[in-house]
């Protein structure tokens, strides 16, 4: 392990931090462009010019925008995300449990979806252009094409209403036993899995088919390896970089794209929280959640980049 890898990884991390700072500027600027300010939003109908001026003074809104940005950023960096306007609660505290819930759901969906997608991709390559391949691709594409809410409601109708195997509403609370918690998230996790499956499966298939033309695949076949061993041992390791990229994009989607699924299953995660506060026009909460989603997205993409670098033997073992 040597300098080129360390250097490349350090570059990616530095770029990621820079990107996150840029995003924070965008988020802050975006909320500044909106008409009205926090003072107006808090006072609403009862605003008089005097009370507005007082409140602005109190909240520091008279300071120039860049000072307020740094004030906000400083807070974020020290774990203070501000206070929700609608409820007056500390945002960081409210988010903590919900972020944990969202990550919990995303984690279990990923644990099922990623290996399943890759294995299905490998099988599709093994039986490429045959009926097995077409069946896998067809089902995966169909499940992705349906909107999440449709899949969600179908799952609810079938597994919660008709068979009552799983709850239709995924309520979770602190101190809930692990088994019950898993049962509660089964349906939303299944819905998420179906949504992200096809993308990863198709990419695995395409990336591996791309290297199946290589001379080293022929070498492996001429050693007498079985078709599946050739794909798993010789093709897959060389197709890993594009696969990781797509997997990470989908993992990011599992965290930041769950809004609809969380709302359907009334799951107390970040998505629900975001939707609630968007309807209440609670700008500080929207800012905080936006920043967290951006951070998740950027870090997963950095991980994908780093994994692709580490997976490349030329970089791992320089001459």
């Amino acid at each position: 392990m040597s300098s080129p890898i360390v250097k490349l990884v350090a570059q990616r991390v530095a770029l990621g931090i820079l990107l996150l700072l840029a995003v924070s500027v965008l988020i802050f600027a975006g909320t500044q462009i909106l008409p009205g300010d926090v003072a107006q939003a808090i006072l609403g109908q009862s605003a008089t010019p005097e009370s507005l001026a007082n409140l602005r003074e109190q909240l520091g809104l008279n300071q120039p925008a860049y000072l307020r940005y740094f004030h906000w950023l400083g807070g974020v960096l020290t774990g203070d995300l501000g206070t929700a306007m609608s409820s007056g609660q500390d945002i960081a505290t409210s988010i903590k449990d919900r972020l944990w819930n969202t990550l919990f759901l995303a984690f279990w969906a990923a644990i099922v979806a990623v290996p399943l997608a890759i294995i299905l991709g490998l099988i599709a390559v093994r039986y490429r252009n045959g009926w097995v391949d077409k069946l896998i691709s067809g089902v995966a594409l169909a499940s992705t094409s349906f909107p999440e809410f449709f899949i969600g409601y179908v799952l609810v109708f079938y597994f919660a209403v008709q068979h009552q195997w799983f709850p239709a509403i995924s309520t979770v609370y602190e101190g809930m036993p692990f088994g019950e918690r898993m049962q509660a998230i089964a349906l939303p996790a299944a819905a998420l899995t179906l949504v992200v499956l096809a993308h990863m499966m198709r990419m695995t298939r395409a990336a591996i088919l791309n290297v199946m033309q290589s001379a080293y695949v022929e070498t492996a076949e001429l050693k007498g390896l079985s078709a599946f061993a050739v794909i798993r041992k010789h093709a897959f390791p060389n197709a890993i970089a594009p696969i990781i990229n797509v997997v990470m994009l989908n993992l990011a989607y599992l965290v930041v794209g769950v809004v609809v699924v969380e709302v359907i299953f009334v799951y107390p995660g970040m998505g629900q929280y975001l939707v609630d506060h968007v309807t209440k026009r609670d700008v500080p909460v929207v800012q905080a959640v936006g920043l967290i989603f951006a951070a998740v997205y950027i870090s997963l993409n950095i991980i994908a980049d780093i994994a692709a670098i580490v997976a490349n033997p030329r970089l791992r073992h320089p001459k």
């Binding site: 290589s214 001379a215 080293y216 022929e218 070498t219 492996a220 076949e221 001429l222 050693k223 007498g224 390896l225 079985s226 010789h234 390791p237 060389n238 033997p313 030329r314 073992h317 001459k319």
Partner: protein, 551 residues
């Protein structure tokens, strides 16, 4: 069949082999073509049979049939392949898998592509032995190290820990031979194992393969298009053409007393009688003290290179891969601006960068490449390809353009009928001819030919060289001819520059450069060119003064 019981000592007995493939020509119905027509051969244990012929002769296809393998939709549709007393074609997929990597192993043309970049060499070398359970891992690794030693690889104990990209091409080719031998097979199929190597590296690999075959008593099918190479390693030689047997006999008989006309054409040396021209007074192009590097690298790819090319003459630049031949061409054309030095063309100094050169300078300097098929737009017809320089440089359009295109097609000895063809419909030699016509269309004073015959079969290459010489007489164009093939140089050059590690080590008129006394590198280069003599390899190895750089 009553005769299926093989004679004792018989390893491989191929009878009336017929191999077919389905092709999908553009705009036509798919059709079945026969690649191998009823070819039969036998090979005894421990013997080497050379399969020789031009591309498309079916050499590799026949070789791979001994493993029951067909590349890309190729099917064995008739005949028997009797290996160790049984017809392997009756064994089905499982039967093929059991014999591949165990009874028969394969050494590919480009080991650099045939090794998996993601795994260490040792894991790949022992893989087949472990798969078939012929050895434990420890035994197989011990065997591999012993083979690395036998094939005179550097650091045989540790080279297996390396990844393919950490090892040179010549070494990889020997590791691949070790990989084939590691399973202790009865038969190895060598598919052009030295073709992709430099001539100076080829000789080492060839010697290593020959020793390994002798010491392990393995039988081999040695596939190549180079008769001089196959004469060094084979007991018998089989000449193939268009999937049919031409002639089969002992090595001595084939190269000394060929019975068929085609074999005779392959065997006879194709020297073009080319009268060396004396250098004129003013060169058309002068490269003056050029030093160049890629990127901001400190490694200089060209070091203080100076050469002159005179009007209507040919300067051949020879050297092995990495010697800076093609980089010199890039510096001359402005694709790689030199760090120091200058390029003087027709009395004026050319701009270093391509963008600094006026259209007229670009027109005067044309290029032809090694891979003719990737140098042409596959979606344009021959007429469009050749007509483009006429439009671009001279603004000639319409019927005048068509007339000029027809004229150029005539010059490259291709008829008017080719105007509407696409590159994919042409043979390798025809494609290169179209590229020559395209460069001539610009009416240049100098054409840079970068390995233009290296990808072609010897007889086709011969035709291209004759064409280039004829065009030089007619048009008075000068050539900068880049090649690693010394036979080509002898045929076409007026003066020669020998390059080694970015420097010109020998430069002058052809007769002087090719006459002793030689410097060490030129001597190595000249003595490495395979000669069609039995026992040449041993003599050449014994007489060498320096080791080749590829090792």
């Amino acid at each position: 069949m009553a005769d299926t019981k093989a004679k004792p000592g018989m390893l491989l007995d191929i009878r009336n082999l017929r191999i077919e493939a389905t092709v999908y020509p553009p705009g036509e119905q798919p059709k079945t073509i026969t690649l191998v027509h009823d070819v039969s051969l036998t090979l005894e244990k421990g013997k080497v049979l050379g399969l020789i012929g031009e591309s498309g002769a079916g050499k590799s296809t026949i070789g791979l049939s001994s493993m029951g393998y067909g590349r890309g939709g190729v099917r064995i549709t008739g005949g028997e392949v009797i290996l160790n007393g049984r017809d392997i074609l009756k064994g089905g997929k499982e039967g093929f898998r059991r014999l591949r990597g165990r009874e028969v192993c394969y050494v590919a043309q480009s080991a650099a592509a045939a090794f998996n970049p993601a795994h260490r060499l040792m894991d790949q070398v022992v893989e087949a032995a472990l798969l078939h359970g012929t050895a434990t891992r420890a035994e197989a690794e011990k065997r591999a190290v012993a083979l690395f030693k036998k094939l005179s690889l550097p650091n045989p104990e540790t080279i297996g820990e390396r990844f393919p990209h950490q090892v040179s091409g010549g070494q990889l080719q020997r590791v691949m031979t070790a990989m084939a031998l590691c399973s202790e097979p009865d038969l190895i199929v060598f598919d052009e194992p030295t073709t992709a190597l430099d001539v100076t590296t080829q000789i080492d690999v060839l010697a290593a393969i020959k020793d390994a075959i002798r010491d392990t008593h393995v039988a081999a099918l040695y596939i190549t298009h180079d008769l001089a190479v196959v004469a060094q390693v084979s007991d018998e030689i089989m000449v193939l053409r268009h999937g049919r047997l031409v002639e089969w006999g002992g090595t001595r008989q084939i190269i000394k007393e060929p019975r068929q006309e085609y074999t005779n054409a392959l065997v006879s040396v194709h020297e073009i009688a080319h009268q060396e021209q004396t250098p004129g007074t003013t060169p058309v192009l002068s490269v003056k003290n050029v030093t160049a590097a890629y990127g901001r690298s400190h490694i200089k790819v060209l070091k203080n290179v100076s050469v002159d090319i005179f009007p209507g003459q040919t300067l051949a630049v020879v050297g092995e891969s990495g010697s800076g031949k093609s980089t010199l061409a890039r510096a001359i054309t402005g694709l790689l601006p030199p760090e120091q030095g200058s390029v003087v063309f027709d009395g004026r100094t050319l701009g270093n960068k391509l963008v600094d050169r006026p259209k007229e300078d670009l027109r005067q300097l044309q290029m032809i490449y090694q891979m003719a098929d990737v140098a042409m737009n596959p979606r344009q017809t021959v007429g469009t390809i050749i007509g483009r320089p006429l439009e671009f440089y001279f603004g000639i359009r319409g019927s005048e353009r068509d007339r000029r295109v027809a004229e150029l097609l005539d010059k490259i000895e291709m008829g008017k009928g080719f105007v509407d063809r696409y590159p994919a419909e042409l043979s390798g030699g025809q494609k290169q001819r179209v590229c020559i016509a395209r460069s001539l269309a610009a009416k240049p004073k100098l054409i840079i030919c970068d390995e233009v015959t290296s990808a072609l079969d010897p007889l086709v290459a011969h035709g291209i060289l004759e064409l280039l010489l004829g065009l030089q007489k007619e048009e008075g164009v000068a050539y900068l001819f880049i090649t690693h093939d010394l036979a080509t140089v002898k045929s076409i050059a007026d003066s020669i520059a020998v390059m080694y590690r970015g420097e010109v080590v020998r430069y002058g008129a052809k007769s002087k450069v090719l006459a002793p006394p030689f410097d060490a590198y030129t001597d190595l280069l000249l003595s490495s060119v395979p000669e069609m003599e039995i026992g040449w390899l041993e003599k050449a190895i014994a007489g060498r003064r320096m080791a080749s750089a590829g090792n």
